[in-house]
């Protein structure tokens, strides 16, 4: 049977469904016998899912003001950008 470390090395392909069939079978066999690896795989997937839920933070007001000033400056220098 593969070790937990060997399973961990295959995890990125396992969670994305890209594991070769012979590895897939060995991983599933290991998971059937190793409760810590079941938790490891599940919490690895939760980590990905939680990260994907991170919202975008809004621009800080000072930055927005600076950007608008820089844009206005650019338009003064090159009216082509005013469209």
């Amino acid at each position: 049977m593969m070790t937990c470390r060997e399973l961990a090395e295959l995890l990125i392909d396992f969670v994305s469904g890209e594991l070769a069939p012979e590895h897939q079978e060995r991983v599933e066999q290991h998971l059937g016998l190793c409760p810590p690896c079941v938790v490891f795989v599940e919490t690895y997937k939760i980590t990905i899912r939680l990260t994907r839920q991170l919202p975008r933070v809004p621009l800080p007001p000072g930055l927005e003001r600076r950007l608008r000033e820089a844009l206005a400056e650019m338009k003064r220098g090159n009216p082509e950008h005013e469209r």
């Binding site: 070790t3 980590t47 990260t51 975008r56 933070v57 930055l63 820089a70």
Partner: protein
């Protein structure tokens, strides 16, 4: 019979649209890569002004989105390299610390996060942002581009000048470190 209709010509982007639609994307990516608000603001300004100067050359939304990722990543990496007295840290393989003789070295507890939990509260958002900020830079860049921005491994490899297998290795180690950092905050309390 009617003539087949031509698809409508893409509507040109305006500078105002760029600022409204793209500035937050650029700022968030730079902030997470650099872990520093002031540096992220400088990068955002640099990138946005570059976009506005090149507005005429874009052929639509996907064109500008791809270009924005590239320019933002390059600007962030350049900014990071310019930092004075940057400390180099040797990065140890996190998998080496997790396993002893090939098996889990410490007990693992399940997490109290339900599969249908869709909205992160602010406290959890901050925990995740802080954990991303503590990742070693090599892992953080790939982790942010993959798991926050949703880019594919080949696209990240192209952006960072890495092989796809190097991207996967770094992404996996970044995820393992993130899992380890979040575990104490998300584990079920023992009965």
């Amino acid at each position: 019979m009617d003539e087949p209709q031509q698809p409508p010509a893409p509507v040109p982007l305006t500078a105002e649209q760029v600022f409204t639609d793209y500035a937050p994307r650029v700022y968030n990516l730079a902030r997470r890569m650099l872990g520093n608000d002031a540096d992220a603001e400088d990068v955002t300004q640099d990138v946005l002004l570059q976009v506005v100067r090149k507005l005429d050359t874009f052929r639509g939304e996907s064109d500008i989105a791809t270009w924005l990722h590239r320019v933002t990543v390059n600007a962030a990496l350049t900014h990071r390299n310019k930092r004075a007295r940057r400390e180099e840290h040797e990065v140890h393989d996190p998998l080496d610390h997790l396993f002893q003789d090939g098996h889990h070295g410490t007990p693992l507890r399940p997490w109290s996060v339900t599969p249908d939990q869709q909205v992160l509260d602010q406290e959890r958002q901050q925990l995740i942002e802080d954990a991303i900020g503590r990742l070693p830079e090599n892992y953080r860049d790939v982790y942010v581009l993959a798991d926050v921005e949703g880019l594919s491994n080949p696209d990240i490899a192209d952006l960072l000048g890495l092989s796809v297998s190097a991207v996967k290795s770094r992404l996996h180690r970044g995820r393992v470190l993130m899992r380890h950092a979040l575990a104490p905050h998300f584990e079920e309390m023992p009965a």
